[in-house]
Amino acid sequence: MLTVENLHKSFGGVNAINGIDLEFGEGTLTAVIGPNGAGKTSFFNLITGAFAPDRGRILLGTDDIAGLSSPDIVKRGIGRAFQIASIFPSLTVRETILGAVNTHRGWHTKLRRRFPLGEANAQADEVLELVGLTAKAEKLSGNLSHGDQKLLDIALALALEPRVLLLDEPTAGMGPEERWQMIDTVHKLWQRKRMTLIFIEHDMDIVFKYAQTIRVLSYGTVLAEGTSEEIRNHPKVIEAYLGTAYEKGRG
Amino acid sequence: MDPQALLTCLSTASCVITQTTGGLISGMLLFLVAAGLSLIFGTLKVVNFMHGSLYMLGAYFAYTLYTATGSFTIAVVGSAIGVGLFGLVFERLFMSRVYNTDVLMQLLVCYGFILILDDAVKIIWGAEFLSMGMPAAFQRPPIMIAGGILPVYYLFLIGVTLGVALLLGLLLTRTRVGKIVRAAAVNPTMTAALGINTALVFGGVFALGGLLAGLSGALAAPVRSMVAGMGFSILIESFIVTVIGGMGSIGGALVGALLIGLVRSFGTIGFPLFTEGVMFLFMTLVLITKPSGLFGKEQ
């Protein structure tokens, strides 16, 4: 579904992504892990066109999308949610989703008719129901709780009916209980929609419990890939993680 | 347009010298105002549109002090300090309330004060223009350098301005105060977390900016007639200077001010009717090619 070949990107001489080759099969659920500064978010940014890669190919199906603009990549079916919820604070929850639905259908530059266009309503309702925000539909997005804002961020991506969904730390900044609720919701979404889902996560319990496969990044390269079991016992991973832990302990 | 005249001028040494010194002189006073504007923007991220009014206050303070005491030194020092204090009070009482709002609110507060101060000056000092006159110490014939003419007062002015530029540069790069100011500019919340009183820093920067504006107003007083609203044209020009030089860069303000001085000085020979247009054209081109200005840091 999504294939990355020999991806390179450097910022001001620092190699953030240093030759990544990865493949994500259709309908798979993959976790991307790695220590801080491993290049996880940069990897997402490259896939979604926030930056163009210096080298390498990004294949969605068979199309190379490397170097396309974000909107064009999004239109080809890659959705994304952010580590810090990225929403539209002065719009209500419903307006937010309707805006996304309109955009997805290419109606967002329509001048002739009123917002929202009727046919969009049903889809918006469905998305809200999927993430469980139906009851809060008329609230201002900016007034939602942190968790709900993260859900709304994901809902925005869902409204685009993506083939590939990238979630950057869906549980960031949440309490333990909330985390499990959130990841449960995400898992249910994946089961219902059967899209290719890639998520960045720090909580290893979550990763090991939910991810079908795990990809470990370190210093802009792929350190390891495999199932929970394989990764758990992978010597390089242990070294990378423990190494950082040691350094932290010493520092 | 008269490109022929410009070419003729550029081919004679005395014309080049006189026009260049003329441009430098115009640039110097402009620099003092622009430096304050740039400093305030660099630290507080606020475009202080009432900076011209502070310059006006400086000139009027100097007029009053000079008339009362007869000492030019007291007039200059007193009005610089006076305007600096005014800047501090203004920042604490009004500007500090709109830091976290829309840039439009900041604009509005400044605009309100421009209007209020213009009228206040008219009420206090009258609607008629005033002239302070040249202090006796500077009433002497100009110096001739290679066919170019340089008045004594302007020599003094250039000296003072360069001294201030140097001091300002040292203050910002070599002292603890400068480090704090630069840190507060980059990350105010972090700086506050380190136990530094950012309110004091911001107030201090505003006071310093006001001091510079007051100083330039006082230094301008002997050669410029004073009238309510005089801050306006200097505001526009120093605004152009800071945008060209780079908002927040003192060095940029100096280069920008000298550049504008030279554009005006040679422009008045080559294209006398469109010098202002050229300044805005210049500003437009700089913004298009390098929005943060010639010496500004990329955002």
């Binding site: - | 008629e128 002239s131 309510a228 609203g229 009717l273």
Partner: protein
Amino acid sequence: MGDGNHIEEETMTDTQRPRRTRRGFIKAAGALTASGLAFPYVSRAQDKPIRVGVPTILSGRVAQLGISSRNALQIDVDKFNAAGGLGGRKLELITRDSKGKPDEAANNTRQLINGDGCEIIISAESSAGAFAVQEVIRELKVLCIHTNSETSSLSADPKIRVPTAFRTARQGIHDAIVSAAYAGSVAKAKGLKTWMSCSPDYAYGRDNTSLFLEYMKRFHPEIELVGEAWPKLFQADYTENITKILQAKPQALYSCLWAGDLVSFLDQSGIYNLFAQTTLFAINMADYTTLTAVKNLPAGIHSSSRYLKTFPAVPENAAWGDAYKAKFGDFPTNWSWENSLAMTFLTTALKKTNSTDGAKLADAMRGMKVKSPFGADGTVTMRAEDQTTIGYAIGWGTTIPKEPYVPTVTPGDWKSILEHEAEWKKKMGFA
């Protein structure tokens, strides 16, 4: 119907006439709602004072223009009212600040007429404002006297002229002819061959200077123009212009900078010692506010008489200047006497017609000759053909640093002025 309704009648166009019944209803409705809904513009009833609207500039850098104009008007209004007014109706001045913006001037004039019920307009505006007021007068047709705009085309150009609009200000072309005649004779006597100009870059500055230079060349072809400097209006720093002049080294410099700008220019030129090598002809120097504002006023600046209480040297003029100073603490300005002259014409016309009707007053004003302390021969005439004043006192002299500042003034010759003006008009296609 009292006089108050004249304007309304006068300005009603043909399309409005058939709607008389509706207008009746409008008036009734208006009376009913006036108190409750009081829109700020409520017309006053008749038999109240004759309101004279004065759009002018009271704020910003030119505030002095409006203030010294208004002061002069007030003196004459008080005098007129004390003498019984017009059959019991007193004059009332309503000034409105246009802040120096032409569109505000136009708008204020409309409001003064349509809202405040002013029956007469004295437009104490700068040139840009005066042209804007002129367009309003063209439409609303009340009597208007421009008192401060010196731009010749305002009255000379038939396309711009309006039947009910007059001017009591000095006029650019008159100034230019007198100035060139005077400056030329000085140039000849002292051998000033190379000339330069330094004037503000706006309509007045450009017109004034180009006319002066045109007549200079006509009267004295041997004179050579070696350069022009054009500072902006209200420019703070004249250094680059001064250095440009220093480069060109002219023997004489002509400037129509005025008020604060002229003071700044003199202050800044002073430190370059500019006037050691160059003789200055500053047409707007001899005005008390400017003369007194310059510290260390250089001696020997040639200037036209803006306002001097010693010129014309008649007791009425001195008395008027002193009375003004006694009342307002300052000496009057050039704008003050121009406004006072307007009041002389206005009150004379009011008495003559016993009406405030624009057309009637205009008929009376055309060709009117009044006694005035500001007349070259004790009288000033409102020329009928272009509705502007002639015969006012105008002359040039040189400055000294203390009172009376310009001890001797060489008056201009009106016969010569009028001849050259007629020729100029023909050339411009105005006559």
